[in-house]
Symmetry: C2
């Protein structure tokens, strides 16, 4: 049984090209694509984390256009996906929001394009998700990936996609789609809010 | 053994909102994301099919910028992905190009978000890809999907992703990523040109 799964796309703190902590810009299609993937797989909420007020404004305008504005009737399926999106400034606020909704903190899954010693396989991660009764949160990084301060907050680190490949530069939109499909596949998630 | 796999993203002929045949516009991120997914999974070539000269020009300029222009040194991994991209006006030209490269026509796989009676499962499609000695070509539609005239040219129709879901509006970028991952997964493709 898959139960109350959330995803978050982190724009701060992430690694920059030189390995330092930066705040990355939100890409419009990340909002749309990952919302549509989330809706397709029964994800209960999709958090966009950015600490920059101007970026927060942009995302909120996009969501508003498609859920309340002209887009609502123009493309109802887009509305259905974007209703899952929430913008938060910090990961801590995401955890608090999930705790408020579910009554307990989520189990946190960390994803990365780089191999780590402590990582678990997709098969193991999928099994844990199935057996877990608490809500789950899967984290995705933008820019050059998530920093150690985020992996240290996480319960599980999932192995990279195609770790054996000589090329690991999937777009985050593609990586999220593949990871969610590997974890959930054709199964139905229980506890998704369809109201 | 996975062998000489190609993908094509079709902008003409595709179905419009009302079911009639239209020519869709090329989305810049479709070029990038699907090129990066292709490179990650060892796909040998990624064809963008559009019959509109202005659209063809745009894609060729994007490719040129990243493979020969400023982008070449700014982001070498992007170059490596975009080197796989070719623009063709019609699907027939794609088939001819693959025949010229491989010495024989490809086996054609059709994809769709809609269930069809003759569709095969991902597992079957993956097995066929593994056993096939000829090159393979996987077709993806934009807009409201690929028309019957394309399915009739195809050898196999692959089942939809999450056919049991009440929502089937993945972005084509996400759908391509998931389908390629389901067919190829962690395996290495033989015969990819790394020169």
């Amino acid at each position: 049984m898959l139960n109350k799964i959330y995803v978050a796309l982190i724009h701060y703190p992430v690694l920059g090209r030189d390995g330092r902590i930066v705040s990355s810009a939100v890409t419009n299609l990340d909002v749309h694509d990952i919302a549509r993937t989330s809706r397709t797989y029964g994800i209960k909420g999709y958090y966009i984390v950015t600490n920059l007020p101007a970026q927060k404004d942009i995302v909120e305008k996009v969501i508003d256009f498609w859920t309340n504005g002209f887009g609502k009737n123009y493309n109802p399926s887009r509305r259905e996906a974007l209703r899952l999106v929430k913008v938060k400034e910090y990961l801590e606020e995401v955890l608090e929001d999930i705790e408020k909704i579910e009554g307990e903190k989520p189990v946190i899954f960390f994803t990365s394009a780089k191999k780590r010693e402590t990582s678990i396989s997709f098969k193991e991660a999928s099994k844990i998700l199935r057996e877990e009764k608490r809500p789950s949160l899967i984290l995705f990084g933008t820019s050059w990936g998530l920093p150690n301060e985020i992996s240290e907050m996480s319960d599980y680190i999932i192995e990279p996609i195609r770790a054996g490949s000589d090329y690991n530069h999937l777009s985050v939109r593609a990586a999220v789609a593949i990871i969610i499909d590997r974890l959930i596949g054709e199964e139905t998630i229980i506890g998704r809010d369809d109201s």
